[in-house]
Symmetry: C2
Subunit: 520 residues, 2 copies
């Protein structure tokens, strides 16, 4: 490194050092301090001195590891969700984590800036998937699939500035269920709502409401309010902010930023206040301005039928028709949904509305009849409707629940631990393990040749292992083992030849091992 | 676009058009043709004409979608592997798909060039993970975990030029099991071999052998053959190619490219031919040149103990000590393994050795005692050993097996299909579905209001759905439904109030639904 370069680098290090010191004294959030420290270490690493290399020990911004307790919770949540998808006859597919960059271009409106690109290392230009819907549409068009009911659980990537304390990340899971095919109105759409209700009920994370609206009703409303066609999308994305911002701010965005006539904005302001059940739909059906808009008439007819099907599916009490629901993504064309946990609504604390933004949203989706056609060389359409379960939010809630509960989460399923009561019995322990594994019994032992008896007993208790098999020289000579119930500390001798059978009987007799998560 | 630019672009398009034509006439592999066509379409897209946009409908090079049949196979394989990991008491963790670039730097030797970088869009420099081992070591150091037995199943990324027909991709799954902790010699190492044997036995993909060697034995051998210390790693990576190349080529690489003394190379050539069981280890223990190398003496002692433990674990017949096994990755420090399917060994067809390269390798791993220390600020070491199951290879074998079998793979688990025998019964069907879902019975129905009876019956047969519930106006009036066994076509009336109970009884009585994959 040239001296001038080095001097410049040392200056940068000094400046960054001061940023870090300032962060620490001013008690900014831990996460931000870590980032500034990381920058400092990265600068120092460039010095390339010969000392032991300083690694920046962190995950990338907005990404996180899952430890075994978190994984146990995650597995429990996924199992319940998959069980529901399978109950509705869904198959599953998988797509690559990256797509050709152009596959994602023009699908996400204002959010496209959040797409992660891969570096151009020669070859194709690639981006990380932003959701699972666009890859699904690409899959359908590429494989000429015209009807399928599939779920897809995978990670997606958004270069957002996430508030991780509230369960929002740059890398996060989506759990999507979609029905593709040319079907009769509202039958698949209503099943999606039923699925959301089944899953949220089953996870027991509190009372919720599934808000529904219709993109063509929004379009009709915009037309009725005098919004010019070319402004529909941008005005729609302003309405989308109503769940997190006050009307006055949304109105300002429409009028000042997006150049909408103030009178039009005020008319929109009247409509977006409507919410309720079938009575609101019926009232809007009589609205003179809307009656002149074919798209609104059609959409209200859809809404009416959707609510009827929801009633037959026994979920009408969970559904709220809400004219202010817009959803940002460009590709929706029909019904749109959003499930919100009631306890987390931002209306709770209007003083701090920004902080509570959308915390309660745990599922969303809608109909997107045009997306597959964007990929088909002949523009052939495949109508689709689907929902995405916001599992990261659900994980956060379940983690908080687990932390406040006294029940320890088991992260393994070990049934038997082999204990040697004396020295020099490692070979016999290996033989026993081998036998139990062959019988499909989940078995562990110490990785030390001569472990202390107390350590072995404690391992069983700390890890919730129900049975210990204890051997000593005398047991080996007698051809028996001791079978210990770890919880009750009862012990009995069983013949070595009966061991597998006795263990299986004992396991069946014990209460199903509690993992702290029912149905796990 | 300026005219000059446009002219240049048109030139490029013309040239690329000729490349495509040439490809097509010369019958180059389909995959390559598709790539050249994609380049052509990308160039044409730059023209930005107003016609319908041409999309390049493909997944990125080296990546693929999984369709529902492939997913059913994948799920079956994963379930068996996870079952084995859990049988051995493992927990699971997850890490992000990308890491800070510097986390991966300096861990993969010559393979580092294959790492995918993300574009610099401001913020940290990131790379996609290359394996699960380095992120695991980063996780241990970052969280100060000193012992854990964990599995991790996730996708990894390598910018290789893969032969996809042979189950090699740029995006592929790894299934890793690792034991971290300061334990007694060879106890965790032997369990890893047992796990590989259990999994491969269980998957029934054919006879296999687990080759074992020891990095410190290789080091000792290199020293005994007069290889200078600083050449150990590069000579080791040459030896690593012995499973796919002839000795004469490897020798040439050592002598001509890497400047090794020909006499040293010839001595190595003698040693790497040794393979066998404990008798070979005992013979090498008496080898005068090796006896002078402390690392070789120590490694041979390890090998001897490892083979004894493998015998106690009942897997000695699957293990082959092989002095030519090297494994390329820089981080291994002790025992190394590689499981090879016997039917796929390249020795089968020496005429076409290049084509058969490593097709048989289905698992690999080893001990890496230094990797965690590379991340710890104080260099604190956590000894680790683990194996990685090559599931993509296994998927390919299972897919080929499924294709050649007559049994159709079920991709859903639907138990009941609701059929309406007449028109205008959609509402009743919705009620029935709702009731069955609430009883956790996997139920489907048509998404049409008035589907044809024949279509509904065929759907059941095509999808292997065991039970159909049939309703018509007369059934509704009588308060009954018809329960049909789809396979036998037997039908009987059951009271509507008994329906759930009757279905459950019938399902329990039917042979377990065959998914075409046992244990799925």
């Amino acid at each position: 490194m040239a001296d001038a370069e080095k001097a410049a680098l040392l200056e940068q290090i000094k400046a960054q050092g001061e940023v870090v010191r300032k962060c620490k004294t001013e008690k900014v959030p831990k996460e931000q301090v870590e980032e500034e420290v990381a920058k400092l270490l990265a600068l120092k690493a460039q010095l390339g001195d010969d000392g032991p290399k300083k690694f920046v020990l962190k995950t990338p911004k907005g990404a996180r590891d899952y430890n075994p307790e978190q994984m146990a919770i995650r597995e429990g949540v996924f199992n319940k969700i998959i069980q529901c998808f399978k109950r509705h006859g869904a198959e599953t597919i998988d797509t690559p984590v990256f797509e050709l960059k152009e596959t994602l271009t023009g699908k996400y409106g204002e959010d496209s800036k959040l797409i992660y690109d891969l570096a151009d290392q020669g070859g194709e230009l690639l981006s990380l998937r932003y959701d699972l819907t666009v890859p699904f549409a690409r899959y359908l068009a590429m494989n000429k699939v015209t009807n399928i009911k599939r779920y897809h659980i995978a990670k997606v990537y958004r270069r957002d500035n996430p508030a991780m304390t509230r369960g929002r990340y740059r890398e996060f899971y989506q759990c999507d269920f979609d029905i593709a095919g040319q079907y009769d109105a509202m039958l698949p759409d209503a099943e999606c709502i039923r699925i959301v209700a089944e899953i949220l009920d089953n996870l027991q994370i509190g009372d919720f409401v599934v808000k529904v609206n219709h993109r063509r009703l929004l379009d009709g409303m915009f037309a009725a309010c005098g919004v010019p066609d070319e402004k529909f999308r941008s005005i729609c994305s302003a309405v989308d902010k109503l769940d997190k911002t006050f009307w006055t701010d949304v109105r300002a965005e429409m009028v000042d930023e997006k150049g909408l006539d103030p009178a039009s904005a005020d008319k929109i302001g009247e409509y977006v206040r409507f919410q309720g059940g079938v009575e609101v739909v019926e009232m809007l059906m009589k609205d003179e301005a809307l009656q002149k808009q074919p798209s609104a008439v059609e959409a209200l007819k859809d809404m009416h039928l959707l609510l009827k099907y929801c009633e037959l599916y026994g979920v009408l009490d969970k559904v709220l028709f809400d004219m202010s629901l817009a959803r940002g993504l460009d590709y929706y064309t029909g019904v749109i949904y959003e499930a919100v946990l009631k306890g987390y609504s931002h209306q709770q604390s209007t003083a701090n509305a920004e902080e509570q933004v959308g915390v309660g949203s745990v599922a969303g989706g809608g109909r997107y009849d045009g997306l597959v056609g964007m990929f088909d060389p002949k523009g052939k359409k495949v109508p689709c409707v689907g929902v995405s379960i916001g599992v990261e939010r659900i994980f956060s809630i379940m983690e908080a629940k687990a932390q406040s509960s006294a029940v320890k989460i088991r992260t393994t399923e070990t049934e038997v631990y082999i204990i040697s009561a004396q020295k020099n019995l490692v070979e016999e322990r290996l033989r026993l393990c081998s036998e139990l594994w062959a019988a499909d019994i989940k078995t562990e032992q110490s990785y030390k040749c001569n472990p202390k008896a107390l350590d072995q007993f404690q391992y069983c208790e700390n890890n919730g292992i129900p049975i210990a098999i204890i051997i000593g020289q005398s047991e080996i000579e007698k051809g028996v083992v001791k079978l210990r119930n770890v919880a009750t500390r009862e012990e009995r001798e069983v013949r070595r030849t009966d061991m597998v059978q006795e263990i299986k009987k004992t396991l069946a007799g014990l209460t199903a091992v509690d993992t702290g998560l029912d149905g796990n």
